[in-house]
């Protein structure tokens, strides 16, 4: 993917929604910015800092603390494989291997075509469907090594 210059104009709009209290709304501002850009580019963080007067060091501290935030671009679809206890007991490891092999990435990585980012999450609270994953905001349960690749293929088209 070619490197595009990031348009920081939308940041002002996002920040202005929280003008009552920038400091305590920092996480919400970052969440919304990440929704906008798909990740948190350096220029965006600098712009947030400039507009809110929250020091960049503090912003960076928050971004690196929470696992939701990412400083590098992600794929179009987020695949979140659940690593909860029930999924573990019901064999999510094989399912994960199957996806990794299919997409040729490891956890935390994005495919070369920027279609998918593979993540694991602690537990998505649908243990009755174990093993389970989410693609964007959709849940897929009772996964097998075959069904999981079928689902991923559907999203590729």
């Amino acid at each position: 993917m070619e490197v595009k210059t990031v348009d920081i104009k939308p940041v002002a709009g996002i920040v202005s929604e929280y003008s009552d209290d920038y400091d305590s709304n920092l996480i919400a501002i970052l969440q919304q910015s990440q929704d906008e850009y798909g990740y948190l580019p350096k220029s965006v963080l600098k712009e947030i800092s400039r507009l809110t007067e929250v020091p960049l060091t503090r912003i960076f501290g928050v971004v690196t603390f929470y696992s939701q935030f990412t400083l590098i671009p992600r794929g179009k679809h987020a695949i979140k494989i659940c690593n909860g206890t029930a999924c573990h007991v019901r064999g999510v490891d094989e399912v994960k291997e199957s996806v990794k092999e299919h997409l040729n990435v490891v956890e935390g990585e994005t495919t070369a075509d920027y279609q998918f980012t593979l993540e694991t999450v602690a537990c998505i609270g649908t243990c009755f469907l174990a093993p389970v994953m989410m693609v964007d905001d959709r849940y897929f349960g009772k996964l097998t090594t075959d069904s999981v690749t079928d689902i991923v293929k559907e999203y590729s088209n």
Partner: protein, 548 residues
């Protein structure tokens, strides 16, 4: 078309107008549209609505989108309530079978066998005959799977916000607190602290502004009851918060909810907007002069934020790291103001206690724990799902009578209770009546109620490693015992599971566990060694088998 309620009488009138509707002679079809969505509930619902319209059955059939109906193992599930006849429960419903459900079951009262729950080869069509349902006692989950969570009207029709009106117009704050205290309810989030006492501390604390927080950062792997409550009955949580706010004297509340729960956030947001429109949130609520409003704060993926001081830091927009207590949040919490934090399930209990009274509530459960507890049943068990039983129910009843036992030939080995802070309860303790103290005595904790069943194919050393990996990853790094202790213990456990363990590994694990437990700053570190210790206690042979 929600009209602002100006008084208690308006609320009563609204409920009474709903009474007429309930009496209508319609077949009610309830489809779970939360967890079941993962297995196609959305498509089934759409097909149902389409067919009802096409066949012009709108006067005969009412299709309701509900939250979790409990028996998630049969997803997607639906309940059919014909007027004056017992409820029929169907599972594994597909789009193709929808026309049959309408023509046979709804129009002719005929049961479709292949959709019924089966036990010992026998099909059981009626909900009242299914052990999974008839052995439960749904108090907190009374509306979950029954009402449309996006309809405040349906909640009010089932006496919703009535307990709040009672707390507002009939009780003073002290009376609310004494009612909650004498009910004996303890926090359902894990630590089991008496709720009434907690409220009392916050009420007595000096300060003009007080905050109320609902902890919906359900992070324990294996727990999903808070998610189900928020998705299936969000108004119960809002009502619980209103009562708590009046008791402690708060005008501003926050719900801190995980970003991983999009449906819960959506339903809660909707519920808050509806409550505002009806004047159940905002200023001068029901004309009483009482003000309270709520805001949702989304977590950003940090397990430690379930710890109350870390959660407060996160709401303040900081890195979610815990701090030493005292001062306790009741005296100095959010922005240094007195703050009361309760878990989702605890808050959903509150309206029932106020409505039915402390004496009634105390009859449920045991001396050490009154009321009911919701367990999230998962792992190697037939009926995975949500189960609500009175405290004091035995593990055997939950896993075998309600849960239907362990599938396959391998057999029951242990139940993991309390997630990464808990432990594994082996077969010898299956007849233990479950309450806070009894579970702790056998090396686990009640925790938030996650209950993962393990069969004899499950390696307990691997489970121990799994949990240690989890807490090691989630340790915030602020205090050394937790940061280093969990890392060192994980290294040893990895070595053992690889078959490279050495003789003194178990002794080292115990020693490090001891230090981590006693010297860590917060609950995460203090309880992190529990899964290791409990598996060493009951399954030492498995460790020995791996360390030759």
């Amino acid at each position: 078309m929600l009209k602002r309620l100006k008084s208690h009488d308006d609320l009563i009138a609204m409920r009474k107008s709903g009474d007429k509707k309930i009496k209508q002679e319609k077949v009610k079809v309830s489809i779970c549209m939360t967890g079941c969505r993962a297995l196609g509930a959305q498509e089934v619902y759409e097909e149902f609505s389409k067919q009802i319209k096409k066949q012009k059955l709108q006067d005969k059939v009412e299709v309701v989108e509900t939250g979790c109906q409990g028996l998630c193992a049969r997803a997607p599930v639906m309940t059919i309530d014909p007027p004056g006849a017992p409820s029929i429960f169907y599972g594994r419903v597909t789009v193709d079978i929808v026309p049959d459900v309408i023509s046979k079951t709804i129009l002719q009262g005929e049961v479709i066998k292949k959709l019924c729950y089966a036990e010992a080869g026998k099909k059981i069509p009626y909900m009242k005959d299914i052990p999974f349902y008839n052995r439960q006692n749904k108090v907190v989950l009374r509306n979950c799977g029954v009402v449309d969570p996006n309809s405040i009207e349906q909640y009010i029709e089932r006496k919703g916000y009535d307990a709040f009106a009672k707390a507002l117009f009939e009780f003073d704050p002290e009376r609310i607190i004494s009612e909650i205290t004498s009910s004996g309810i303890r926090g359902r989030g894990g630590a089991g602290f008496p709720t009434g006492l907690k409220w009392g501390f916050c009420r007595k604390a000096k300060g003009d502004i007080k905050y109320l927080i609902c902890n919906a950062d359900e992070g324990d792997p294996g727990a999903f009851m808070d998610r189900a409550i928020l998705e299936g009955d969000p108004h119960a949580v809002i009502e619980g918060m209103l009562i708590a706010a009046r008791a402690i004297g708060s005008e501003k509340g926050y719900v801190y909810v995980r970003a991983e729960y999009p449906i819960a956030v959506n339903h809660l947001r909707n519920a808050i907007a509806q409550a505002r429109r009806l004047n159940l949130l905002g200023n001068n609520i029901l004309g009483s002069g009482f003000n309270f409003d709520l805001e949702i704060k989304m977590g950003a993926g940090a397990f430690v934020c379930g710890e109350e001081t870390a959660l407060i830091a996160s709401i303040e927009g900081k890195r979610g790291m815990p701090r030493p207590r005292p001062p306790f949040p009741a005296n100095s919490g959010l922005w240094g103001k007195p703050t009361n934090i309760n878990n989702v399930e605890t808050l959903a209990n509150i309206p029932v206690i106020i409505a039915e009274g402390a004496d009634w509530y105390r009859q449920l459960g045991t001396k050490n724990g009154s009321g009911t507890k919701i367990f999230a049943l998962a792992g190697k068990v037939k009926n995975t799902g949500l189960v609500e039983v009175p405290m004091g129910t035995t593990l055997r009843e939950i896993v075998f009578d309600i849960g239907g036992g362990v599938p396959g030939r391998s057999g029951f080995k242990a139940a993991q209770m309390g997630g990464p802070s808990g432990g594994c309860v082996p077969e010898e303790h299956l007849d233990l009546p479950i309450d806070y103290e009894s579970v702790q005595a056998v090396g686990a904790i009640m925790g938030s109620g996650g209950l993962i069943v393990m069969d004899n194919d499950t390696s307990m050393v691997d489970i121990s490693r799994y949990f240690m990996e989890f807490v090691q990853e989630e340790s915030c790094g602020k205090c050394v015992p937790c940061r280093v202790g969990t890392r060192k213990m994980l290294d040893i456990l990895i070595r053992i599971t690889k078959g490279e363990g050495v003789r003194r590994d178990v002794e080292d694990l115990k020693e490090m566990a001891n230090v981590t437990q006693s010297a860590s700053l917060c609950g995460l570190g203090q309880t992190a060694p529990n899964p290791v210790l409990s598996t060493i206690r009951y399954f030492m042979n498995e460790y020995e088998a791996l360390i030759k």
